[in-house]
């Protein structure tokens, strides 16, 4: 990375009486998973470049409780939610952006009833807005003419009807967006949702991520774009399973934007 990332924390800012415009909710995957950390850094790189006033919670952030809730542990979910809301409200957070559709969905839809009311954006929506407001400019760049297929994360697409923002971003790269046979409302899950990420799949003919990867490969892409750290893992594993990792890369939309102007 060419220059060091500037990652202010809420604790630091509030100590000096500053309030950022937006809180970047990093999420567990974005904090700890090696692959997802690269997405986090790519997104911060863009935020730095666009001089967005933001902060992270850092060590004060905790799991939103999404996997616990989808696994059936409503109790643990609400414990997580209530303590996160306490932190967020103490910092008087108004706007949150996150690169994880699961955090996005939970913060946006399930926190309000528990006392957490924020404007929540997915990072693809946030980036789309940055471009539309001229905060970042993209002119083709190194992905120009590449065949990119976009995998809709369930918790972004079907769950929250966000289909266009990530596609608009890919269009800005002057890349060729090729759709899979199941896309948008009919997008096929990567296999990780509903806490499946953390367990072995049930007995069947094949794994869901293999089925989805096969659909992606049918489009003969150079790049499979994802917008969720878990989808990214599942699709990366799928591509490896098909021994295509030399030819096809799985990248987050934020990485595409961040890297488009790199040499």
């Amino acid at each position: 990375m060419e220059s060091e990332l500037k990652v202010p924390t809420m604790a630091e800012l509030s100590a000096t009486g500053q309030q950022p415009e937006v809180l970047f909710w990093v999420g567990c995957a974005g904090s700890f998973d090696d692959r997802a950390k690269r997405i986090t850094k790519a997104f911060v790189k863009i935020l730095n470049r666009a001089q967005v006033s933001f902060a992270v919670l850092g060590t004060e952030e905790s799991c939103t409780g999404d996997p616990a809730k989808r696994a059936g542990n409503e109790f643990l979910f609400q414990m997580q939610a209530v303590s996160n809301i306490e932190v967020l409200n103490a910092y008087e957070i108004k706007k949150v952006v996150t690169a994880c559709p699961h955090c996005f969905n939970t913060l946006k839809n399930e926190y309000p009833e528990l006392g957490g009311n924020y404007q929540v954006m997915h990072h693809t929506q946030f980036l789309d807005e940055l471009i539309k407001n001229g905060k970042i400019t993209l002119e083709g760049g190194k992905f120009k003419g590449k065949r990119i297929t976009y995998h809709d994360p369930c918790y972004l697409g079907r769950a929250n009807n966000v289909y266009q923002a990530p596609r608009d971003l890919i269009a800005k790269l002057d890349a060729e967006l090729v759709e899979m046979k199941n896309c948008k409302k009919k997008g096929l899950c990567c296999g990780a949702g509903g806490a499946q990420m953390f367990k072995e799949p049930e007995k069947g003919d094949k794994d869901v991520n293999i089925e989805r990867t096969e659909q992606a490969l049918e489009t003969k892409p150079d790049i499979i774009a994802a917008a969720c750290p878990f989808c990214n893992t599942m699709m990366t594993d799928g591509v490896k399973n098909k021994e295509k990792e030399g030819a096809i890369r799985v990248m987050d939309v934020a990485e595409l934007i961040a890297n488009s102007e790199d040499p």
Binding site: Q78, C154, R212
Partner: protein, 443 residues
């Protein structure tokens, strides 16, 4: 004796409708076994959804071929009912084609019914071929053997027979009109059944009257039979699709309900000033401690039970389910069928025991829906999106998972590890919360 047909007709009508009302009452009683769901919000949006999705069939045409065929049968069902109205009035009063005084309009109506009847016959035949000869994947899943398969075909046969009877009745009538038979008013246009006259050529007037009367009677008796067949079949959707789409989930599909009973307990735990014994009197007075999640149909909401009765087993949900597509046991359609089957079983139990449920040692969990099915779900909402009548199989799966985890601590061990990690260090993996910002310092 002159009024014998009228009396028989009224008797058949009263019996048919009476039996139907009895079934509707039973259906309502069974649905009320579920937990109350108070839905009073967004009335105009809900009406709009009902008009758009149930009446307008907007989600049927997502698959154009069955969508178009379904619209034909559906329109046929609705429009031909105008003719049923005439049949009922004729039957009660002993008149014949009482609406014929409408003249040209009547001709137009009858012609429309005939064309629709033919189209319905064609559609029904294609449906039968898709189900039995082409054997589309979603129609031959494991849950579609036995009664569900028979039921589906019976519905097609009944519809076919009703349409053939309708056209036969008209064809014979048309021929009788030609022969200037008494009481057979010259009325109506018969673009389809006029071709039946080749069969009727040379038949005596009395034979023709016998054919016409038989077809007329069998047609209306068939309709009354079909009305009462609904409760025993998957075909209830023709009625229940309307309330079901009205009560369908609004807002983002990703938003799952927060359990209120849990919220109360969590608040109590998080609030240092709360008196933990404040509510203990409830326990002492023997009030029921709320059960988390669902293990049987009584734990589900009335909406979920209505969902189960509304399901017509089309299998679009199962077709889109990632778990099912990759050979797992989970089938969202089976979740709905199991829920209904268990609810019916509970209903029969009530019938047999004078309205008081006698513990039968069974429940929805394990006896109908296995844990393997529940744990295979990715909560991706594909089934919810696919349903043409706003059924939500996912909500039942989630409620049952809640029961497994919160009442039985019976999550798969890997999930227990994940939840233990969240509890101890705020992440689903065993990483220290204090390391959460390390990424910012790494290269």
């Amino acid at each position: 004796m002159q009024y014998l047909p009228n009396i028989l007709f009224v008797a058949a009508l009263v019996a048919g409708i009476g039996f139907f009302i009895r079934n509707v009452k039973k259906l309502a009683r069974n649905i009320k076994l579920g937990k109350k769901a108070v839905i009073t919000d967004n009335t105009s949006m809900r009406w709009k959804n009902m008009l758009r999705i149930a009446l307008g069939q907007t989600k049927m045409v997502v698959r154009p071929i069955p969508g178009l065929l379904h619209i034909i049968v559906y329109l046929g069902f609705i429009i031909i009912n105008i003719e049923v109205l005439e049949i009922i009035i004729d039957g009660v009063l002993g008149t014949h084609r009482i609406f014929s005084s409408l003249g040209r309009i009547y001709d137009f109506l009858i012609a429309t019914f005939e064309i629709l009847a033919l189209l319905v016959i064609i559609a029904v035949v294609i449906f039968w071929v898709r189900r039995n000869l082409i054997r589309l994947r979603r129609f031959i899943k494991p849950e579609m053997t036995g009664w569900p398969k028979t039921d589906a075909n019976w519905i097609l046969y009944i519809e076919l027979i009703l349409m053939v009877l309708f056209l036969t009745m008209n064809g014979a009538d048309y021929q009788l009109q030609h022969l200037d038979a008494a009481h057979y008013t010259k009325a109506g246009a018969f673009p389809i059944s006029q071709f039946f006259t080749t069969f009727f050529d040379g038949m005596s007037m009395s034979s023709l009257i016998l054919i016409e009367r038989s077809a007329w009677w069998l047609h209306i008796l068939g309709i009354l039979f079909f009305l009462n067949y609904l409760y025993y079949s998957k075909h209830l959707h023709i009625l229940l699709a309307f309330p079901n789409t009205y009560f369908g989930k609004l807002g983002p599909k990703g938003k799952f309900n927060n359990l209120e009973s849990v919220t109360n307990e969590v608040r109590l735990m998080m609030d240092p000033s709360a008196d933990p014994y404040a509510n203990s009197s409830e326990v002492e007075t023997g009030e029921e401690v709320p059960k988390f999640g669902a293990s049987d149909v009584m734990d589900l909401t009335r909406i979920q039970l209505l969902n189960a009765y509304t399901c017509t087993e089309c299998g679009r949900c199962t077709n889109e389910c990632p778990a099912n597509q990759t050979g797992k046991k989970l089938s969202p359609r089976k979740i709905m069928m199991d829920t209904r089957d268990r609810l019916e079983e509970v209903g029969k139990n009530l019938d047999a025991n004078k309205g008081i449920f006698e513990n039968d040692g069974k429940q929805l969990l394990d006896d109908y829906i296995t844990r393997e099915e529940l744990w295979a779900c990715t909560s991706c909402n594909a089934c919810v999106e696919a349903c043409p009548v706003s059924i939500d199989p996912l909500s039942i799966i989630m409620d049952m998972r809640q029961y497994l985890v919160m009442e039985q601590s019976a999550a798969p061990s890997e999930l227990n590890n994940m939840m233990g990690n969240i509890e101890n260090n705020g992440a689903p993996w065993p990483f220290n919360q204090m390391d959460r910002l390390n990424w910012a310092k790494e290269d």
